[in-house]
């Protein structure tokens, strides 16, 4: 019994003296509680919807005022007027809108004559959550259209014509962009953070610090080699994931090339972020213990598995500075919507600027001598 107690005592004493371990054990579940709890608890809000009014009649105005009412109360979406349908649909394809409502010409006449009036709704169904939210919102709008306290015997109806812009997108495809980003992130953490600090803790870094290598050369070397590893991980996930998830035309070379152009800055962004975090650390427990916390903190608020629109506003702030958000947004546009560069230039710009800031900061903080 004494021997069992001796083992227990030794282990508990060491645990008490490892703040990094204690931090990881407690912080990770707490962070998950807050992030995941808020991530999945909310209603999707503030979607962007374009409204094309080709009728301009009284009933069209009524529809538009009902849309405004939803915007003001439930805040499910914000509306933007568009003069022509094609422009609106292009913006939808490029990810600037979540949906387009089209009030066709002669809508007012059809409503008054009860001649099968229709409202068109085009949705980006690569995101089934936002698509169904929009559809649900619009469906209640048209169902309640005539509810003025009068219940006619034959209730007239407006038909909601929903057009899904893309083929059916199963969840596995919705998640694939996140999986690719995650593979790059994990490679950065393990191949970058953990291996670098392990070397430092064993004193191995002194072997090359005595050579004429400069601070910048060291940081660039580490960042690029970590980025190469991240790119390899991302490419493997991209190729195999595309096949496993059943993305149509999986080996489309032009799309793979565009994906590669997002994978590279994503890799650099993650590895340089990792390097900045580890630049003053030499405790091997630190990267291991923050791995999980960082994963939760960055992965979920990015909209990887559920739309950002459902999150509380403080999580939006995380999403704004989070490289995951932009990487996943770019991958989604390319993989699920097969867009061109217009959809991803914003993401690429963020990732490049983010990497530059990380590397400059890491270089400033890196101590070549002590």
């Amino acid at each position: 019994m004494n021997r069992i107690l001796a083992i227990i005592e030794r282990d508990l004493r060491m645990f008490k003296r490892s703040p990094a371990l204690i931090f990881a054990s407690l912080m990770l579940p707490l962070v998950q509680l807050v992030i995941l709890g808020y991530a999945f608890g909310g209603n999707i809000k503030h979607l962007k919807v374009g409204v094309v009014d080709q009728d301009h009649g009284l009933e069209a105005i009524k529809v538009r005022s009902k849309l405004d009412a939803i915007e003001a109360t439930a805040q499910t979406f914000t509306t933007q007027p568009y003069d022509d349908l094609q422009t609106a649909l292009t913006d939808l394809r490029n990810g600037r809108l979540n949906g387009v409502i089209n009030i066709p010409p002669n809508f007012t006449r059809d409503v008054l004559a009860q001649a099968d009036p229709q409202i068109g709704l085009a949705v980006d169904n690569t995101d089934n959550f936002t698509a169904s939210t929009l559809e649900g919102s619009l469906a209640s709008l048209v169902n309640d259209y005539y509810r003025n306290g009068i219940t006619p015997r034959m209730a007239p109806t407006i038909v909601l014509q929903t057009v899904e812009l893309y083929g059916y997108t199963p969840y596995i495809q919705y998640f694939l962009p996140a999986a690719i980003a995650l593979s790059i992130f994990i490679t950065a953490m393990i191949g970058g953070g953990i291996m670098y600090i392990d070397d430092k803790a064993r004193g191995v870094h002194e072997g090359y610090l005595v050579t004429p290598i400069s601070k910048t050369e060291l940081i660039l070397g580490f960042t690029l080699s970590g980025a190469i590893k991240g790119v390899m991980a991302g490419v493997i996930l991209m190729v195999f994931g595309t096949l496993i998830a059943g993305i149509p035309d999986p080996l489309n070379l032009w799309r793979l090339a565009k994906m590669f152009m997002v994978i590279v800055p994503t890799s650099i962004a993650f590895i340089s972020m990792m390097f900045l975090m580890m630049v003053r650390t030499d405790d091997p427990l630190v990267p291991r213990s923050i791995f999980g916390v960082l994963n939760t903190l960055l992965f979920f608020p990015s909209g990887a598995i559920y739309p950002i629109n459902a999150f509380p506003s403080w999580m939006h702030w995380i999403a704004i500075v989070d490289p995951f958000t932009y990487a996943i947004h770019g991958f989604k546009a390319l993989l699920l919507k097969n867009t061109g560069f217009a959809a991803i230039t914003g993401d690429l710009t963020f990732l490049v600027v983010f990497s530059l800031i990380m590397m400059v900061s890491a270089t400033a903080l890196f101590r070549r001598t002590f």
Binding site: G203, L209, V210, D283, T369
Partner: protein, 329 residues
Amino acid sequence: MNDIEVENITKKFGDFTAVDAVSFTVAHGEIFGLLGPNGAGKSTLIRMMTTLLTPTSGSVRVHGFDVVESPNEVRKSIGVIPQAMTSDLTLSAEENMLIFARLYGVPGEKRRRIIRELLEAVQLSDWAQKPVRTFSGGMRRRLEIARGLIHEPKIFFLDEPTTGLDPVSRVAVWEMIDRLKRERDLTVLVTTHYMDEADKLCNRVAIVDHGKLVALDSPMKLKASIPGKNTLEVSFSRVPPGWLDTLKRLPEVATVTPSDNVFRITTNNGPLTTVKLFEAAREAHADVASLSVQSTTLDDVFVYYTGRQLRDAVDEHAVYDISHIYGRR
């Protein structure tokens, strides 16, 4: 101009003074030893000379360059074998050397030739392609010595090069250092806590304790500088009252230091003191339980200057711990 000039160098980590106003010079072609127990400040000193640490005050010039003002010039002129084994285990011997050749800017055509020559010099030619993970500790150390010479420096720093090695490997490493120094006309600075290493290898030895330089000279002169040419270590079956004074009065005795049950007697004439010791013991009915007689060693020099034995101050299994350098004590 001396190859290494250390002037009043001090290093503090917060309140802790690791190195306290140390000064010395190392001339070209010397093998210079820094001898002292763990925690004496040797590793801190060598790290300041090799540009890993900046001195709190004082100056160090290596090969004519100041370590703070021209660290890169210093780095190009020196080869360094750090205390920790820094070779990469999953790479081969040759790969380890190739990477360092590139870090030092050794031109492409020269690289392969120099690597071949150096591996031969350290007797690792047959192991060039094997991963370092398969090497013994001694072999790894020899590889790191070869690696430190890849850019043909003239000044070579070794931080505890034989710590943790078996006795056979230790001798092999000493012979290697000596031979390389002669063949390549090197200046060598070695830190060690092994007295025999300092004694056998070094032209001059600086004894360091608690961050201070306590003695500096050739091993022979250091041993001659302390009273007594021989050391007797003797224990008795019983210790009569006043025995310490009796021992001190024996002929030719310089000092007597009791330590547990053992008396360390330094004397200028070992045989004479021994004879008289036995006579005194017989008269006092105290039998001699054990006796050893040896010439003065650097350990005796250390005791003389610091009051402690070098071997008592040293951990037998030297642990590599540089945490104080990176701010955690």
